[in-house]
Symmetry: C2
Subunit: 235 residues, 2 copies
């Protein structure tokens, strides 16, 4: 009971039923267990989480606002299917915002943060070694999010959360080879630059990292989207 009712503490959302649903569905999408275009029925999800449709609906609306779910009127919610144009916008926004975020991260550097970052790198390497693609894709997104948290800039953090979630879908849909989503090595270089408090290097590493991710994508004219999707879903 003591752990349940916290009158004043504004914990983000933990132990909240709507948030449990939202985070569960988000994780499933980010780990590519739910593919773009998948229908997310309200009853279906409600039964999984033992919640009524009211709560499921709230969670789905939040996900829609984050851009990883589309809600079509009278038809339901579907995992979003970003177009190549969307993809270009997402990465352009990331190229604009993330260098600035890493700048702030350098300002906030501390032994505790360095520790956290290196612990994260270890997790990434471990997941990569054991070939756990789902954990890898999740962790590589969380790395960028971690840096945004480190920056202490809550607005950038909110924006980046959206961009990361969409990026995960984009990488699933449009990557050329079955390369790991983000090279762990790049992340290590970024951490090194942060540790050295070298803003210029940190910005540069972040930017080239993002460029490399986007370079791995196959973003052609939107007309051929359907084929590409069929390809992914069929595989």
């Amino acid at each position: 009971m003591a752990a349940k009712s916290r009158p004043k503490s504004d914990a983000p959302d933990v132990s909240d039923r709507v948030s449990r649903i939202r985070e569960g569905v988000t994780a499933a999408i980010l780990e590519h267990r739910l593919l773009p275009g998948t229908k997310l029925g309200e009853d279906e999800i409600g039964e999984i989480y033992g919640a009524s449709r009211t709560l499921v609906r709230t969670a789905l609306q939040q996900l829609a606002h984050e851009g990883i779910v589309n809600i079509e009127k009278n038809r339901g919610a579907f995992v979003a299917r970003p177009t190549p144009a969307d993809a270009r916008e997402v990465f352009e926004a990331r190229r604009l915002i993330e260098p600035t975020i890493v700048d702030h991260a350098v300002d906030a550097v501390s032994p505790a943060w360095i520790n956290r970052l290196q612990q994260h790198l270890a997790e990434e390497r471990e997941a990569e070694l054991r070939g756990d693609a789902r954990a890898s894709v999740r962790l590589s997104g969380e790395f960028h999010r971690l840096i945004a948290e480190m920056s202490g800039h809550s607005i950038y953090l909110g924006f980046l959360k959206e961009l990361i979630a969409r990026s995960s879908l984009i990488i699933l849909l449009y990557r050329r080879h079955d390369t790991p989503a983000c090279g762990t090595a790049h992340h290590a270089e970024i951490v090194t630059a942060i540790r050295k408090r070298d803003k210029l290097a940190a910005r540069a590493q972040m930017l080239s990292h993002l460029n490399e991710i986007e370079a791995e994508l196959f973003l052609k004219d939107p007309a051929a989207d359907e084929l590409r999707l069929a390809d992914v879903l069929g595989a």
Copy 2:
């Protein structure tokens, strides 16, 4: 029937009951008819718009996601009260994003857009002349939004909508003098630069415009927030 059911067109939300509520409340907040800290009771709003609490709740949750409403668990929804720290974050983000947006706007320039911009400037001048503070504050926000629409970058547009809405609250809470929120003259200079397709000038004008707005603010340590709020609400 033709105008009502559009299966594929993703019109933002027009003629949707939830959106009517959201836009109504948003307008009230942006025009400073609802002050920061005001409680937004579900029954109260529902009665105004002739809607059930279900729809009101949906609208309020969307506004919470946009950052202009805070929802406190088991207590209800309140008009957000940005802290000075929030204010600094918002303007930093705007200084980062808006120069890039205006860059894109220059790329998209066309006679139709120039026309629309100048029509908007005329509206702003008119509102300023007749001393309509509410219309002025609304229109000055819409100017920035218009440029974001012109850029064709939907992600930047979404981000900027949030930033503008929060800016409106910030200006209300923290401006030094009762100066008009944004000088119409600055907007005119930005339009001129866009019309000349001069990206450098457009970026520079936008940046200095944002700097001037923030310079008009009184952003001290958060400790004194309460006094400031009392000041505004008492007046």
